[in-house]
Symmetry: C2
Subunit: 235 residues, 2 copies
DNA sequence: GAACGATACACTGTCGACAGAATGAAATTC
DNA sequence: GAATTTCATTCTGTCGACAGTGTATCGTTC
């Protein structure tokens, strides 16, 4: 970890990629709000390009789950119901718990340093823009998944990106913001082997407040506990 | 559940959707093989449309994971390494196990009948085309996920579709084909509560042979066992 | 004969334009 | 005055075309 590689693999970023990033940033920074319609011609005029790369970028974002397409009616920024938030989080809990177990097995000081660095920036952002916090939040989790494996990262990203895209605009009370920020610390503790909790418990605590979920996770408390028992019995 | 709704929401399938389906079918039926390049102009000529909807369809398939795009070089049908197969399956094991636990909790006779019906068709296809078998195989698993929840289904689909797209062309020895087909039965037994195994065990048995994985799953046996130990030490 | 370089071809990325569908406003009827 | 139909506008879906890049072939040199 003395320094980064000299030459990063050069992405020749086609217009499509640039545009996708620009629009994505606009959504994550709250400039475009959930439910809002995205006018292709408008975007094309604003960005001084034709509609072709705009459409391609929007489709890419659609498959990422932060945009939905109503054929012949337009593309809209995703608008999640509370119910969706719960369901996504219940799946997330299972997958990210596994990712955390894997990450813990290969946890290096470098990885820990990186997480701490992100967390420091997040803490310093407490009074600042929500969009920066959300971005750092996502970066933090992604840094955890990145270590274990390519596919679990891709899968988790596909699942969770819409969550973050949506949560940007949720007005949060300041006490919730504090929880969002400081509940990341136990995750690092878990990864460093300093926690006695299960991955599921640590994550559940982390996820509980920000989206004000009900007390129980549909999947976790009902089913996972049963298998936990069986697993113990088996061993 | 007396009958289905009278009017299904009418999808006006744009050209893009038709084309995506056509190309997808071509891949799953083995007409286009993994690693093969997809020429947009060629496809446009063959299908008598312009390149625009072709590009959009290909991009859609790209985000589904059955096509990869090398910018300015072309789109290629996904070509998975054995290593990828392992990694995907290790993630799949975690997620699909959870899906099966959820499905078991809400398992209805109707759902069981549907699974049996698919399985019957699969068994009758033993001597027939591999593509049909793969399609039924996928349909079977999807039917399991569909009951629990929207998001776990979407997530699993995003993860596994490339697997099936790839497995079509893997020449399988006949004994493996038999295993692929008949190892589905224990899954139904599990869902019906007639199994004493864990969801993970049932799935691992099911996934072990078809893609000729080594004895162990990278995530499950190597890593999960470590964490299992830690967990035991703790408790 | 093999490796290197130059040239020609093919294909992707991007553009501007048109047709048909969806939306909203105006006009008409009860 | 309210509801419904008609009309105009706007936008998406699709098309054909062009420019620049990547690829392959051919010729050249050692």
């Amino acid at each position: 970890m003395s320094r980064n590689p000299v030459f990063a693999p050069v992405h020749l970023p086609t217009l499509k990629h640039n545009i996708a990033e620009i629009i994505s940033d606009a959504i994550f920074s709250g400039k475009i709000k959930p439910g809002e319609r995205l006018n292709e011609s408008q975007l094309a005029r604003d960005l001084h390009v034709s509609r072709a790369p705009i459409r391609e970028a929007l489709q890419q974002l659609e498959e990422q789950g932060i945009i939905v397409n109503h054929p012949r009616r337009g593309m809209f920024v995703v608008n999640l119901e509370d119910e969706d938030l719960q369901k996504i989080n219940s799946v997330r809990l299972v997958l990210e718990a596994e990712a955390m177990r894997l990450a813990r097995a290969n946890f290096t000081p470098a990885a820990q340093a990186k997480l701490n660095q992100i967390l420091d920036r997040m803490e310093r952002s407490e009074g600042g823009q929500p969009s920066l916090r959300v971005k750092l939040d996502y970066e933090f989790h992604r840094a955890i998944w990145a270590s274990p494996a390519k596919y679990i990262e891709r899968t988790l990203a596909g699942l969770i990106v819409p969550l973050f895209a949506y949560s940007v605009i949720r007005a949060m009370k300041s006490d919730k913001v504090r929880h969002v920020i400081y509940s990341h610390r136990p995750l690092i503790d878990f990864l460093a082997g300093k926690s006695n909790e299960t991955a599921e418990k640590v994550l559940a605590d982390h996820l509980k407040i920000p989206w004000s979920l009900p007390e129980r996770f549909s999947s976790y408390s009902e089913e996972a506990k049963k298998t936990e028992k069986k697993r113990k019995a088996r061993s």
